[in-house]
Amino acid sequence: MNIAEGSASPEGNTVETVVVRFAGDSGDGIQVIGSQLGLASAMSENDLGTFPEYPSEVRAPVGTTYGVSAYQVHFGGRPIKTIGDEADMLVALNPAALTTNLDILKKGGTVLVDAGTFSERNLEKAGYKASPLEDGTLDGYRVMAPDISKLTLESVADLSLNRKASLRCKNFWALGLVYWMYGRDRQPTIAWLNRKFAGNPDVAKANIAALNAGHAYGETVEATAQEVARIEPAPGIYSFVTGYEALAWGLATAAELANRKLVFSSYPITPASPLLHTLARLSDTGVTTFQAEDEIAATCAAIGASFTGGLGVTSSSGPGIALKQEAMSLAVSAELPLIIVNTQRAGPSTGMPTKTEQSDLNQALYGRHGESPLAVLAAGSPAECFEMAIEAARIALTYMTPVILLSDGFVANSSSPWILPDIDALPRINVANHTDAESFNPFERDPETLARSWAIPGTPGCEHRIGGIEKDYATGHISYEPENHQKMTDVRSGKIAGIAKTIPPLEPDQGPPEGDLAIVGWGSTYGPISRAVNNLRARNYRVSHIHLRHLRPFAPNQDELLAAFSYVLVPEMNTGQLAGLLRSEGFGNVESLSKMTGRPFQVSEIEEAVLSRLESSDE
């Protein structure tokens, strides 16, 4: 590792983890410096988690509250699984950024503002009657209010940039100061700038000058700096991945492991589109992407691709997934492999497209007409996105079934350092095409998996016709026979149930496999639950964390494991869908902890909920 050598190690106490939140106008370059801090932290032997928040408008007018863009980085010397409940430091590059983000700054935390932007006009746009720098709004915080705009202009004065371009460097000035305060190495960022602006060296130089100036400012004013604890990362080649990147790579990897063409067919929608964009850039690795005219076509095209032997994958978010259900049911009936990725967002209807939620679990389980069972998986972290994409492909291909993979706006857009996989070392997905023309029957089943046999166009002698009408169990021909429908219903649900046999047994993520209280989660609540349970266990509370990756079917031992706890609490960003599912499976002592604000759980919210349960159970 290019260890963060030479980084000034400023005086001050050592802290375990730090949360820095950047906020500013959409044009301020907040996302860039946020990810640079992430990179610098990873290089400083920190684990970390990051999360961006974009405005919902494409480009809101400058200075408005709804035009504020933010980026939060949580880094430190232990495994980091959340983005942090509260910020230790808030960087607010204009008044609107201050007013919309101050509630996330912890009491006593540091706030860095660009005093140069606190003009009357900007204050008004942010809804401030008086300057918050003067009216006591910031009492109780450590306030740093240099005129960053002016200082940035000064720092790049030697270069030949115009005023506008010069001012654009102020994000790096702020970053430089942050680097000083948390002892980050500037080198990786400088390298990144040089690479990024290779074609425009003046811009690179200006940003580097601003970075250095901000850093120097910290030194000069003797801003309190902190040492951050370190970890010892496992060896490997690392990159930062967002959930959507890991998912894209997982799908492409799965297709390679199965030796099938990945046909990814989608229609743009927030927050699912980045998956399409990422895969579109992989076409030179053999991936085919298709931007369909709508979600129905996207799903149908994926089904067509699977019919012809490819790995058909489609992706969307809530409203688009609703549109896909009829076609999914076709894939259930035709028993074709298909992966449907749902990057969930807040509903109902258009809802809040840029906000996260887990409210499509029921839709995944039950959203189709008739008895249309399929497999449902969920990913809880960027790394899990990679694994679950491969697991989805394994199930879809091995069992000839559609698989819904649930992600959400939070897991898709958060990122963390990740060891790039060695594809050759991963287990292959061996599913052969049927090529034997002798007495071929498309609905002949593998006795073990109950998967039907898959013969693809191009195979002489295996020509056959399938469709969505009920099929005769024995011949695959159309059948309306009463007893046959019962048999086919049973075999379709039996096939899905049978997947459980190949799912590894569920084990608590933390804590013993039995006890009074288990916190059961799925998807992106993973981080906050994990941290909360960690904290509680550190305080000697007896509580276990169980994380479900397989939502249909469940892991084979799930019943048993959950039954070993007297009480189960299920935190979900919905109104209790998994809790209802567990109850419908016969678990009595299941309580839902629901949050529906478009934001992830805070660790403290879960801790408090657990504590109140433990107390009340002590009575």
């Binding site: 590792m1 850039r281 298709f290 005219e293 076509a297 019919f307 012809t308 191009g458 020509e463």
Partner: protein
């Protein structure tokens, strides 16, 4: 793909399946089925390389009766399923079978998009001006005032003309055939087969149960000559007994009009040029009985075909390994501890 076994040339009968054909006795679909089987044999189609894909409707039962690969999908979505097939395997010969309801009501959007993208396939729309399978409701091609279970007082929706629609969508091959005119129909289907890109063929199909003889105005034996103009590339646009009538250009109206050849002095009869879009739109829009109904290949003007292989990516076209691609972002290495 798969190892190719040496195969004798197939006959029409070789494309029949063991399934009993279940259309109503006398349905026009039978004749179309026969024509398609004949064409498959004549063009030397290979069973294993051919896929028939359909939506839902009487017409969409078609794939069950052709011994190739077949997929009877869901209502209106056959073009989308076909698109996926061609994405995964552009070498397949894909035939889409749809109806006026399947293709133009619920499925109109997919028809638009497969036509404009110009995927390499044949699209056969069986137009019987009704929803046969669901028992005879009026459809988007039903003429105004059609009485049906859902329009007992007569329909009030203006119909859409499939050929005009296809041309408006940017189709590069638009043709019309008639179920009972097997000779022309097989020629049209062969032309569609040989056209590179999406070939759209509307086939007037008699639903004897719900819409018997609705096309009689130009398809009844006694009406064909006077009310149908069977266009052929490079041939004059004439019709009528002894080809006594023809289409001429009406300069004042900037459009077509019919003329008695011989008697009409202005009668500069037009010659059919299937590559001419303006002519095709004018032919498609001719309304019977005011005009003869134009059948045959109205438009055939190949354009850029959607090729899945074509690269939409930003790369230079050279293949990369997936692991290289993953490493192409900003990555760093952590060395293991010395042991």
């Amino acid at each position: 793909m798969n190892e190719q076994v040496t195969q004798a040339k197939l006959t029409a009968a070789d494309f029949a399946t063991d399934q009993e054909v279940r259309w109503c006795p006398g349905c026009g679909d039978y004749a179309i089925l026969k024509a398609v089987r004949t064409v498959l044999a004549e063009v030397g189609a290979r069973r294993e390389n051919t896929v028939f894909v359909s939506g839902i409707g009487c017409s969409s039962r078609f794939p069950y009766y052709i011994d190739t690969y077949g997929f009877h999908t869901i209502h209106g979505r056959a073009p989308a399923v076909a698109t996926g097939m061609l994405l995964a395997n552009p070498d397949l010969d894909v035939w889409i079978i749809t109806g006026d309801g399947d293709g133009l009501s619920i499925g109109g959007n997919h028809l638009l998009h497969i036509l404009r993208r110009n995927l390499n396939c044949q699209i056969l729309l069986f137009n019987n001006e009704t929803y046969g399978l669901t028992k005879g409701q009026y459809s988007p091609t039903s003429h105004l005032a059609t009485r049906s279970p859902s329009s007992p007082g007569g329909s009030i929706d203006n119909p859409v003309d499939p050929a005009s629609f296809a041309l408006g969508c940017g189709a590069r091959f638009v043709a019309r055939g008639v179920d009972t005119q097997i000779g022309q129909l097989t020629e049209v289907l062969k032309a569609a087969y040989h056209h590179e890109g999406a070939a759209f063929v509307e086939i007037f199909q008699n639903c004897i149960v719900f819409n018997e003889d609705v096309f009689d105005g130009f398809t009844a034996k006694s009406n064909v000559a006077e009310h149908q103009l069977q266009v052929e590339p490079g041939k004059p646009l004439v019709y009528g007994a002894d080809d006594s009538r023809g289409l001429v250009f009406d300069a004042a109206a900037l459009g077509l009009r019919t003329a008695e050849l011989g008697s009409d002095s202005e009668a500069d009869v037009l010659v059919h040029d299937p590559a001419n879009y303006n002519l095709a739109t004018a032919l498609a829009r001719m309304n019977n009985p005011e005009f003869p109904m134009a059948t045959g290949v109205l438009y055939d003007n190949p354009g850029p075909v959607y090729a899945a292989a074509a690269d939409q990516s930003g790369s230079d076209g050279n293949a990369r390994s997936l692991m290289d691609a993953m490493r192409a972002g900003f990555s760093w290495k952590v060395a293991g501890k010395e042991q």
